[in-house]
Subunit: 153 residues, 4 copies
Amino acid sequence: MKDKAEAEAEANFTTRNVYTDWITDNIRYCDLDPNGHVNNGAINAFFEDGRVQFRMDRMGHYSEDILTGFVLVKFSVEYLKALNYPGSIDVGTLVSNIGRTSYLLKQGLFRDEECIAIAEVVTVCFNKETEKAELIDDDLRGILEKAQKIIAL
Amino acid sequence: MKDKAEAEAEANFTTRNVYTDWITDNIRYCDLDPNGHVNNGAINAFFEDGRVQFRMDRMGHYSEDILTGFVLVKFSVEYLKALNYPGSIDVGTLVSNIGRTSYLLKQGLFRDEECIAIAEVVTVCFNKETEKAELIDDDLRGILEKAQKIIAL
Amino acid sequence: MKDKAEAEAEANFTTRNVYTDWITDNIRYCDLDPNGHVNNGAINAFFEDGRVQFRMDRMGHYSEDILTGFVLVKFSVEYLKALNYPGSIDVGTLVSNIGRTSYLLKQGLFRDEECIAIAEVVTVCFNKETEKAELIDDDLRGILEKAQKIIAL
Amino acid sequence: MKDKAEAEAEANFTTRNVYTDWITDNIRYCDLDPNGHVNNGAINAFFEDGRVQFRMDRMGHYSEDILTGFVLVKFSVEYLKALNYPGSIDVGTLVSNIGRTSYLLKQGLFRDEECIAIAEVVTVCFNKETEKAELIDDDLRGILEKAQKIIAL
């Protein structure tokens, strides 16, 4: 259902070199499903760890409770390959788009050079007191732009 | 970033009455994140339970290892509201589209009448021996069509 | 390694009627391990839910952050039977012993009348400011004594 | 409720140097509970990973489905310290006792030199066809004895 341009653009996110920020996670035995593969819940948790580390590395100085000041509003993941126990994986993250109150991350989960899954994540800046989205301020915009990957598709 | 038609169409999936198949799950204390909200991993697991039950109810007679003959290739979720402990939630599922080798499910997670999250899921029929997608046969197509929700958007 | 008296005493905890407080939890597909059985992590989470509910029911009025004012210091579980998906289970809890700064709970996990696992849990009353154990005060002792099951072994 | 000898003996298991087999696991953001500490479920999963790795390292050649031929019948854990995100931990494992059909492992979970939790685990050798415990044969006994830590308490 994708056209050719979309397919080509997406293909880029299955290669390690597009990502700017990285973490390594290890697979646990309890991640296995009845087929003996790592379950989707674990894969989603690996992506979450990539995002949390991204925020700590890039925004750690920006706010004391930076880990709780954002709300994940949309998460899309494509599962490309099965993943087996034991071992470790790497998650790459990049800023793909910066909007008024939200920003878009792309993420890739790799076992060595093999791409296991890719994800797209919309995060909204959220004011916990008003419980409303709020504008990305200049400081935060600067941080995100610095991390933004300009990809010629 | 959505146009009006898309927004209206999606809005339908936040109401209980569009869904054909239902499960009830309960929240566990270990589902809570440091903000005291149910974490996204638990929400994704609730959607998974909805899909597994859908397959057992609708396809239980179709194949002995019906639970392992499909592969989830794409999962997209929109988180609309925070969810608190304790309590139970309901997940509704419907067949939205049937392709040649894959089908599309829509799912909604509700606390009473309140929609907490909606999801879209692409599942591919998968031959474990050849490790390739295979055509949805007439039997399975019949099952899916019976479950398909024709929604006038 | 148990003597006869101990063995007989423990046997009691595999019957539903000794327990005073109950919860019902449902099994999730993601709880399954590669053998197709519910994994130990899920079973331990069911016991946790029984304890949290016990505290909310019995001590909800006692302190605003009653869920965080105790620390689990010891957890022992005996896994008696395999548990399968799907379905729901019940966890029974009773107060077995009350000490100066800690109390002992016994718990049993049941599928219908069948006992799947039993647990023993030592919880210490904990002052978050001093980070030290503190005496169980008269109010709390009263609550615990009310919930205590006097079992003639 | 412990006498002095028992207390001293246990103290040994909070030092790294008693353990023979080691793994390293990393903490995930989703392991955090509402207090911001790593939850007990994650700690128990770390111990599980230590046991699985122990079996793969020591018994990998012994049987093709060595990971499924044993049943955990008893798990006891003492939680000594709170554990925070992010970071990694090490789990040490040793064989403490070898019986006729079961063996006893001791495990310690460490953050650097600090002991976070210790566990004691009874595993029974299990025949999946008869669903009964079976004698530890000479091969397996040899493997376990080789891994057994003789500790002068």
